[in-house]
Symmetry: C2
Subunit: 324 residues, 2 copies
Amino acid sequence: MGKVKLENVAKFAGVSPTTVSRVLNNRGYISDATRKKVNDAIEELGYFPNEVARSLYGSKTNLIGILFPNVSNPFYGEMVTEIEKNLSQKGYKTLLCNTSDNEEKETEHLKMLLSNQVDGIVVGSRNQPSDIYEKANLAVVAIDRFVSAKVPIVRSDNYGGACLATRYLLTKKCKKIAIFIGSPEEEIKKGDLRLKGYLDTLTENNHGEHICRVSFDENENYQKAKISEYMDANPDIDGVFATGDILAGMIKSIARQKNKNPEIVGYDGSDTFLSLCGDISTVRQPVKKMARLSVDILLDSLAGNYEHEGQEYILPVTLIERSV
Amino acid sequence: MGKVKLENVAKFAGVSPTTVSRVLNNRGYISDATRKKVNDAIEELGYFPNEVARSLYGSKTNLIGILFPNVSNPFYGEMVTEIEKNLSQKGYKTLLCNTSDNEEKETEHLKMLLSNQVDGIVVGSRNQPSDIYEKANLAVVAIDRFVSAKVPIVRSDNYGGACLATRYLLTKKCKKIAIFIGSPEEEIKKGDLRLKGYLDTLTENNHGEHICRVSFDENENYQKAKISEYMDANPDIDGVFATGDILAGMIKSIARQKNKNPEIVGYDGSDTFLSLCGDISTVRQPVKKMARLSVDILLDSLAGNYEHEGQEYILPVTLIERSV
DNA sequence: ATGAAAGCGCTAACAC
DNA sequence: GTGTTAGCGCTTTCAT
């Protein structure tokens, strides 16, 4: 059974293709009689329109590309889930790209997306800005990342969140508070706000800084080794701010193995993390709101609304305190 | 700057569209001279082919739809990440659909995918079989789910895994071992193999069964209440087999709040879970292998290879023991 | 070795 | 109200 096309429906109903198209799209005037004939034919033949042909004609695909490092991390997972839900509700389709935070892959995926004529892009991967975004004439929204002067950014209050976390550790009477950073080096150089919040808060309170960079690109075992090493070298750490929940979880496990129990605060606060680890405090980013806002901005831009250009939307975070 | 099309390249290079197409696709004979001219023109104009037009002509989109309940659960997250990686490597693009394990949404998404002429589908959502899969003439692979007599299934050894988990609890001298099931009711009725493995193992060892169904459709708070209630009613439970890791995490937290510490074994064993919770044992599904196999089967089918029809591929699981 | 022309399935001017 | 026709951007016979 070959695919049924509009033409077949037209023949079956004894009308022209145009008429069928008009019925499908509810455009122009059609008598109720022919409308019924057409609808019956559609029903009878089990016809549904070919979106590829529609896209080609209309030069609008309703396809949105979303670029994230991966979707294994529940924070990204929830973000992507929510973005897809919002998009789907508005009639858009989601083309998923995992960049593994690898520049080449991002570029490759980006080219693919452009070839596929996506209407817009949501980027959450954390590579260096690419000029492709500039050149391509499409709607783009970035999540917690700088892409170009024009691309709007949606992020949570990284600075405020870090201050919150660090102050919390201070209220818990921690004497030696370390930060474990899992961001790419490049990002840290540009002035990581989570790091800055941590540093400022410590300085204000006359505390010394203790920084452990857990190389982001490396595999898990490498990261664990790094954490373990750092903790051995600094056995009196009694407070930890981890810039991501997964990192926080790893630190907790490793500490436990060493019979230590530092106060730990993570960052992200995905529902999955909250369910999974009942005993690690964290700074919760409003994932749903961020996803929703990103999609709203994207659709606004798609509608020709330029007001978001160059804007940065910073959403508030909350500290979620957990006890053992 | 309007989009550059093949025709522009042709004019710029002083050749016909056909020639450009031939260069692009490496088909037919072209002199080195014209090939160079064309490639220079492409470079100069920054041309790249419109995949929509290609798809329309070729009636092949290289688009694969993937349907999962969501991508927040790291098990699905990792599965989807791996599937996308494998597909991308083979030149396919991933259209992501979150069904929220909701039948209507799945149907809606399915129609969308068909309209978009996807070449194939990977289903991991757990709804009732839909006849759409039968009717649509495309390649389908199901992950741990029955779709129709023809659709190949990739799953892990649910029965064996459950036995493994239950036996482990027995070796830990647990006296009263409960199973917490988070599957949809429908699935349980059909003979959930994780449940069966649990029951058989207990029977063999003259242990009684204790089943708590944590309604799958309900929200997290409801589930937590249910778990809490069950534990209050059965305070002497000292061993727990949770049919999913998230469930296991929730149970652990709730038990801790009640100052209990039953031995718990989860199911899934995603890398994220392992990093996040260092202290819950689990049955690990080979996510990467499952993803890889699914994609291989799909591409085989796409290539016209029917050998996978009606096959079920059951991959072995491993118990990962963790200590506090 | 290269080009002209038809067509993939659909939509939208423009006629009538 | 409805049909005719051209065209979205590309590929591919079929000529030459």
